[in-house]
Structures are given as structure tokens and as C-alpha cells.
């Protein structure tokens, strides 16, 4: 009995540590973007995940490797949480030949299909239908891969979202619809866009699993996602997961914009108190990890991200002929 408890504590701590590693990886990668963006070598519009990392990290930790995800142009956290491919990531942001898209995609179009980040799209909501199809294929072919699609509360305004939700429900396709609800579409709040009181309330009218959470706690989000995945599989239905969050920076770019007048800095400060990275760090300490252990882990991640940036800076640009490479499938 005592052994079992000890075992449980060990696995919990392992999970908490894995979640923290992913959170820290995403945050640190964006720290480096902020640090180097002014050099004007990463010429790509950055839609930063900062503040919202708990959602992609929690969900991806629950999905594991054998899964496929789709994300929007706010792609950094989903991409890194799913693939950990920080080298391919920075090479792509720098437009290098060894980037995940060979320099064709940039920040808004990150794809590493071998590691299950299928694509990210610059057209709001347009990855959602594609996720439905991938979930259908994974179901039909019995691949054992779960599928998830990440999008914002602005995407919920689009027909593609409602059509996809409807199709996945009627076709009984296991799939996670994950809404990162930061309350904003660029600078426009939900109240100006939604002719209904609550997204979740409307979605509850569909034949799917619905869960909501506003904790900004990656581990809690992990647990909700894990529960939803199990139910999706067992009930052969999609799930809609609505997570409230807060975007720390401007819509696109690396700066705060609390002086712009469309939102109140006090909301930001309230959210900072439950910053997902600080929160998970506290959990690790409470769970028995030492500060030194955590610092070692952080240092290793920092080293890796720094090396990825350095490597990307040195890497070669695509050759001119590469323009024509990959319009259609090629075996390299």
C-alpha cells in the first residue's frame, strides 16, 4: 500500500515535470524571439502564445506523441508542445532551408507531420475542418492516433467552426475541439461579435462532450483533456474544450499594448498572479522537487533553445531553385 502511494507520487511528479518542461520550453523560445526580433532576421509576423501556454501544453501532454494536431497562426505553443522541435522551429522563423517548412511557412505556417503538428493556418478557423478529416482517417484506419484542433474565440465566429462541429458530431468522430478563449479577436471583444451568452452553452446543444475551465493551470487542463480523450474514444464522439486565457502581448508582434486603450492592464496583472509557468513551478516545489533540480532543468532547456537560435542564425538560406520544390509531393 505504501509502495503504491509512493509510486503514485513518483508518476505524478514525473508528469508535472514533463508539463513544466514543455511550458518552460515554449516560454523560453518566445523569450528568445523577443530578444532577437529587433535584429530583423526573423522576418515573419509573430502571433505570440505568451500567457496562453497552459492550454496547448496541457492538451498536448495528454495527447502524447501518437496524435495529430492543427493550430492557428498563434502556433508557437501548439507546435512546440506537440513536437518539441525547437531546432526546426527557429530555423523556420529565420527562413532557413533546414526549417520545418524549408523557409516556405514561417511563424504562421509551421508543420512537422512526422511529429503530428500537421499545419497551422493564417486563415482564421480554416484548420478546423482539416482536423475533422484527419480524425476521420485516424478512426477509419485504426491508427490509434487522437486528433485535436486549436483555435481562438474569434474562430468560433466563422462558419468553418460550426460546420466542423456539426460534421464531427453527426459523423461521430473522436476529436478534441480546443478553444483558447482569450476574449479577443485582434482588438475586438466577444461582446461585439457573439450574439449569444456563452459559447459552451450553444455547443451543449450538439451531440458532443463539453468541458470548460478557467484555471490557466496546465496540469488541470491536462487532466480535463485526458478525461475527454478517454470519453471521445469510448463514446465515439467529439469533445469541445473551452479554456479561458489571457494574451499577454499585442495581437501580432512582441510588445505589450496596454496603452492602446482596448483593454485594461489590471486584467493582465490579475492574470499574472496565475501565470501558468510560475504556477507549475510552485507545484513542482510542493511535490518535492528542489529548486536546484528545477534550475538545472531550466538551464538545460535554455541551453537547447539558445543553441537552436545560434544554429538557425548560421544555417543556409534556401537555394533559388527551392521555390519550385514541394508544390506537389516529393520524395526529396
Amino acid at each position: 500500500m505504501r509502495d503504491q502511494v509512493a509510486e503514485l507520487a513518483r508518476t505524478d511528479l514525473a508528469l508535472a515535470r514533463r508539463i513544466y518542461e514543455l511550458l518552460f520550453l515554449v516560454r523560453r523560445a518566445e523569450d528568445y524571439i523577443i530578444k532577437h526580433y529587433h535584429e530583423d532576421e526573423m522576418k515573419t509576423p509573430m502571433h505570440m502564445s505568451m500567457g496562453q501556454e497552459a492550454i496547448p501544453v496541457g492538451v498536448c501532454a495528454a495527447l502524447g506523441e501518437k496524435a495529430d494536431i492543427y493550430s492557428s497562426y498563434r502556433s508557437h505553443a501548439p507546435f512546440l508542445a506537440k513536437t518539441s522541435d525547437v531546432e526546426g522551429f527557429f530555423a523556420e522563423l529565420y527562413g532557413r532551408a533546414e526549417g520545418v517548412g524549408g523557409g516556405k511557412g514561417g511563424s504562421m505556417h509551421l508543420a512537422n507531420i512526422d511529429r503530428g503538428h500537421m499545419c497551422s493556418t493564417a486563415i482564421v478557423a480554416s484548420g478546423i475542418p482539416v482536423a475533422v478529416g484527419t480524425a476521420f482517417a485516424n478512426m477509419r484506419l485504426g491508427t490509434g492516433r487522437m486528433t485535436a484542433t486549436f483555435f481562438g474565440d474569434g474562430a468560433v465566429d466563422e462558419g468553418n467552426f460550426w460546420e466542423s462541429l456539426n460534421a464531427a458530431c453527426v459523423m461521430r468522430i473522436p476529436l478534441l475541439f480546443v478553444c483558447e478563449d482569450n476574449g479577443l479577436a485582434v482588438h475586438t471583444g466577444k461582446r461585439q461579435r457573439h450574439g449569444y451568452r456563452s459559447i459552451a452553452e450553444v455547443v451543449r446543444g450538439f451531440d458532443c462532450i463539453v468541458a470548460e475551465d478557467s484555471s490557466n493551470d496546465a496540469q488541470r487542463i491536462h487532466d480535463i483533456a485526458a478525461g475527454a480523450i478517454a470519453r471521445c474514444r469510448a463514446e465515439r464522439r467529439p469533445a469541445f474544450l473551452l479554456f479561458e486565457c489571457y494574451r499577454y502581448l499585442e495581437h501580432v508582434g512582441i510588445n505589450p499594448d496596454f496603452d492602446a486603450g482596448y483593454r485594461d492592464k489590471r486584467d493582465y496583472e490579475a492574470y499574472l498572479a496565475k501565470d501558468c509557468i510560475a504556477l507549475q513551478r510552485r507545484r513542482l516545489l510542493a511535490g518535492g522537487a528542489t529548486d536546484a533540480e528545477i534550475k538545472a532543468l531550466e538551464g538545460a532547456i535554455d541551453q537547447r533553445v539558445r543553441a537552436a537560435v545560434e544554429r538557425a542564425k548560421q544555417a543556409a538560406l534556401p537555394e533559388a531553385g527551392q521555390l519550385f520544390h514541394g508544390i506537389f509531393h516529393e520524395t526529396d
Binding site: K104, I113, C119, T121, S126, A137, R145, N160, A167
Partner: protein, 346 residues
């Protein structure tokens, strides 16, 4: 060889490919219903089951993205639209997602999906059930576009499209569905990107698409009786468009007419004449001519529709004018009218 219809040829291509490859499936609005997309999906539900022959919600754009997502993870979807006009609702997924997906992976992802869409005409189809717009799709890198004219091409090109690892849009004219021809029974593919010469002639090259090949062949019969020989080139694939057959033909005739089953302005005909101007300018003996729909929405009533659509007579008149010949009196000619056969409603 046995003769079968264009419609049956499409059906046979899908059935044989579904038999050969269990990842092929067919879907779209009304695909498994009792009308069977004019018969082209007949028997597929019974043979392959509801998992591989499925109806969908009315959501053209989303269901196009659905096909993409299925294709990139190992299935080979065929998405059917009973009118091209409905496919327009899928332009976002088609142009922003489907055509770019492979490029975004730098060539790693396969997107083996087929989009079949039918062009309507006559018996009141009107301005929202009659478009072809193949040049829209051909304008986009990352999509392939085929327009089979003969039953043999229908089977061979659709088979090739299903086997292709790229997205292929297949535009099918409703009036061609009854055409009958020798079609091999065994599965076969016609390479995407190869045109064919439907008729040899020395005087004028007519490049025709889809139904306009039928009109061009009829025009050629009439003109032949007056000593004028048309060479008819059917590109069959307009993207990627291989202009070599057109250039070879022009080297012989020096005269080019494009008869496109679409509006002329900014259409495929402009692409053909531009390539002729770029690569065969010296061979051209006369200004090129373009034939297509009048630049109006398609009217519903027959009397106006007759003005809207070009036909064999338009081609005869254009060729005579081009050659400086007196107009041919075609009043005694019997122009085959599909309205005698096509009684609607679709």
C-alpha cells in the same frame, strides 16, 4: 472493346479504384441517395458500404477541408459536387488549404484527393447552375485540373486523378454524360497533363474544352464539305497545361481558334493564345480568335440561352471569317440539340 457511356465510365473508374485500394472513399451531398449523382455513384454504397460512400451535411467548404485532412493521413477521398456553382463555397479550403498543404511541408505531405464537379446546362439551369469556371481552379498552383470530354477520357483521367498524390479537380459537363464510346474494361489511367488530337486537319487549329469539342467536331464535318479541314486539340488537362500539341498543330495550320466552355474574359482561352503568341508567333498567319460564353450571367429561358452559348455554327462562322471565306449557309444543317434529350430537372 465495348461501348459505355461517359456516366458509366466515371462510375467504373471509381468502382475499380475502390476495389483495388481500400483507402479510396467517395462522399458529398447526396452521393449515396437514390439519384446517385446522375448514376455515377450507382452501386458504390451496396458494394463498399456506408463507410466508403457517404452523405454529408450541406457544408461544402468544411467538407473540402475534411477531405484534405483525411488525405494527409492516409485516405484517398473523392468529393463530389453536382454543380460547379456549389464548389464555389469551397474556394477557401481549396485555394488556401488544399492547394498549399504540401508546399507548407516542403513537399513531404501527400494530398491524394479528387474533387468532381458537374457543369449544368439547359432546361432552365440558369445563372447559378451552369458555371464551369475551370480557369479559376487552373489559376492556382498546387491544384491539377482535368476536363474529360470522351467516355474513355472520363475513365482514364478519373482513374489517374484517384491515383495521383496531388489534389485534382475534375470538371464534367452534364451533357457529356450520355456520350458513348469504346472504353477498355480493365482499369487504366490516362496521364494527367497530356492532351489529345481529336481530329486531324491542315487549315485551322481549334483548341476546345469539354463540351465545345462536340461542337467543334460538328463544325469540322460541315467545314469539310466546303473544303476546310479543322484540326481539333482537346487539352483534357488545363493545369498543368502542356501546350506542345497546340504548338505542333500551329506549325502546320498557322491559325488558332480557342473554343472554351466558359466566359472568354480572363479565361483559359487567353492562356492558350498567350502561349501561342509566346512560343509560336512566327507560325501564326492570322489573328487568333476566342469563342466562349457571352459576357452575361447565363439566362434561363431557351431563347436567350441560345444567344449565350456558342455552338458549331459559331465555330463555322469564325473559321470562315478568319480564312476570308464567304459565310457558309448553315440554315439547312441539323445542329444536334441536347435539349431534345435533356428534359431536366438537373
Amino acid at each position: 472493346m465495348r461501348r459505355i457511356s461517359y456516366c458509366d465510365a466515371l462510375n467504373e473508374a471509381m468502382a475499380q479504384e475502390m476495389e483495388r485500394d481500400p483507402t479510396v472513399f467517395v462522399y458529398g451531398i447526396g452521393v449515396p441517395d437514390h439519384k446517385k449523382i446522375f448514376g455515377t455513384t450507382a452501386g458504390l454504397l451496396e458494394r463498399f458500404g456506408p463507410e466508403r460512400c457517404l452523405d454529408t451535411p450541406l457544408a461544402e467548404d468544411t467538407m473540402t477541408g475534411f477531405g484534405l485532412g483525411a488525405a494527409v493521413r492516409g485516405l484517398r477521398p473523392i468529393h463530389i459536387h453536382i454543380r460547379v456553382d456549389f464548389l464555389l463555397l469551397a474556394m477557401n479550403q481549396l485555394v488556401n488549404m488544399v492547394s498549399t498543404f504540401t508546399y507548407g511541408t516542403n513537399g513531404r505531405a501527400k494530398v491524394p484527393m479528387v474533387i468532381r464537379a458537374v457543369v449544368g446546362r439547359g432546361w432552365g439551369q440558369g445563372y447559378q447552375h451552369s458555371k464551369s469556371l475551370h480557369s479559376f481552379f487552373a489559376h492556382i498552383p498546387g491544384l491539377k485540373v482535368v476536363l474529360p470530354t470522351t467516355p474513355r477520357d472520363a475513365k482514364g483521367l478519373l482513374t489517374a486523378a484517384i491515383r495521383d498524390d496531388a489534389p485534382v479537380v475534375c470538371i464534367e459537363h452534364r451533357w457529356l454524360y450520355w456520350a458513348e464510346d469504346d472504353v477498355p474494361q480493365e482499369p487504366f489511367a490516362i496521364p494527367i497533363g497530356e492532351g489529345q488530337v481529336l481530329r486531324r486537319g491542315k487549315d485551322v487549329t481549334v483548341v476546345a474544352t469539354s463540351w465545345m469539342n462536340v461542337e467543334a467536331l460538328r463544325a469540322a464535318q460541315i467545314l469539310a464539305r466546303h473544303g476546310i479541314e479543322l484540326e481539333i486539340v482537346d487539352p483534357r488537362t488545363i493545369s498543368p497545361f502542356d501546350e506542345s500539341l497546340v504548338l505542333e498543330s500551329l506549325a502546320k495550320t498557322g491559325r488558332l481558334v480557342v473554343a472554351d466552355n466558359d466566359w472568354v474574359s480572363c479565361g483559359f482561352g487567353a492562356e492558350v493564345v498567350a502561349r501561342a503568341a509566346e512560343r509560336a508567333h512566327a507560325a501564326l498567319k492570322a489573328p487568333v480568335r476566342r469563342i466562349g460564353f457571352q459576357f452575361t450571367p447565363c439566362p434561363t429561358v431557351r431563347a436567350l440561352e441560345n444567344e449565350f452559348y456558342p455552338n458549331a455554327r459559331t465555330i463555322v462562322d469564325t473559321v470562315c471569317d478568319m480564312l476570308g471565306r464567304a459565310p457558309i449557309d448553315t440554315s439547312g444543317e441539323d445542329f444536334y440539340s441536347h435539349e431534345r434529350r435533356f428534359k431536366g430537372p438537373f
